[in-house]
Symmetry: C2
Subunit: 300 residues, 2 copies
Amino acid sequence: MKEQFYQYIQNLQDEITLALEAVDSKATFQQDLWERPEGGGGRTRVIENGNVIEKGGVNISAVHGPLPKTMQAYFKVEDVDFFACGLSLVIHPKNPMAPTVHANWRYFEMYNKDGEVVDQWFGGGQDLTPYYLFDEDAIHFHQTCKTACDKHDPEFYPLYKKKCDAYFHNAHRGEARGLGGLFFDYCKETSERTIEQWYDFVTEVGNSFTSAYVPILEKRKDLPYTQEQRDWQEIRRGRYVEFNLVHDKGTLFGLKTNGRIESILMSLPPHVQWVYDHRPEEGSEEAKLLAVLKEPKDWL
Amino acid sequence: MKEQFYQYIQNLQDEITLALEAVDSKATFQQDLWERPEGGGGRTRVIENGNVIEKGGVNISAVHGPLPKTMQAYFKVEDVDFFACGLSLVIHPKNPMAPTVHANWRYFEMYNKDGEVVDQWFGGGQDLTPYYLFDEDAIHFHQTCKTACDKHDPEFYPLYKKKCDAYFHNAHRGEARGLGGLFFDYCKETSERTIEQWYDFVTEVGNSFTSAYVPILEKRKDLPYTQEQRDWQEIRRGRYVEFNLVHDKGTLFGLKTNGRIESILMSLPPHVQWVYDHRPEEGSEEAKLLAVLKEPKDWL
């Protein structure tokens, strides 16, 4: 399974970076290969200062070795070996009318001292963070998520949509990071579903990413905008930073387990503002977005 | 003691905001009074878009009530009441040649069920975060710290300078946040030093702040700079955000104990950049700063 999934995310990284370069038509992804001293490594691809994409990364990694102490405590296991691989992406478009997107698909294995697999699971998801609300974009993104889910289980979309809203929540602000999408974790073999069936589900979601996001980016990338709208985007990007540095388990894990800092923090937006006690005008487009972030909505 | 110290920080807030307004000569501090639902409140003063200060806050608060659960776990106590008051300030100048500064002085009391004080201590410090290195500024700041310390104990400056370097450390970057200064905590009554003597020490440091920082700000606020130097300042401000959101105990405490978010996060800089894998040219002024941040220096 680990070879099969790692092969899959390598191909998916190629597909997604090609699709995004085609939309941008100016900047290309720059690749960095890196090695983890304790075992494994990754292929980081970052794009900056494009026509359309101000900053983005589509990264894969496959790491292995003894499970670090901090992760032993987290998973409540002792002294085991692990393998983890995944693809993580964040795209920050320049135009404030175009939403930021994040996605991640990952696979995890743990081994006992004889090298036997004692646990294995998939996790991942994808979610949309706009600066201005276009209902049709939210509906398109969620519909694409639902279509992928429904091929596997009609209960998946409502369940993983809800988990996504719960996870990407800036608790200290009492607001969602964005409009959500899907979030799933610890997808393990059961009597109802084999690990191969989970693989089919996770790759179905991975395959849906481009058609979930690229049409939205195409539609919004050339809309006119004002400096005030750009400022609003940069202020909202500040909330993105707050979520990733204060609440995001993936980011904090990476920082505390000696991950490659530049690959982990490629998720942070290029230009960001913090304005004291900023509040949008009542009835404005900005206030409309905030209202939806305060109270996650069922888009479908 | 609590009335005495709270009176002191109220006066100090007036003194410091007046001194900074005089340097800025355009913007003035805007005041927000706030109340904490569980008891107490604060007086937040924020300045933005000045001639000299791009963003800054000089805040006081005095809060009390049952010690929140998260803090009970931290202090390893159960079910006690507390009182805490302090002044916190962060100043982000516009000019990249002028350093950011942070300071905090605080007093804490804990009570048993009969309302008797069972524990009390002072804490605080002040530290400097430049974007370009002027040795004379670092020396002036540290000398002012040392002069204040030496009036109380010749061991204080070396001890609290070292604690400051250890605390303001961006572990995930392997670099200091800035050039340090002083950091002290749990300053409690002992056979050698009464709580009144600690009060004298902490207020000595508080009184030294203006003469530690304002002359540096005066000297650097009108130096010419390029767009590239401004970009470097904004990139380094990103490290400031990383420290405050990932490592700073005060910030995380505030976020997790239902503090007033806008008063806590006033510390975040106004304009910030994250550039993938940014590295200054060898031998440049930017590289000179990084070298000092990698290896804290004895300035005196």
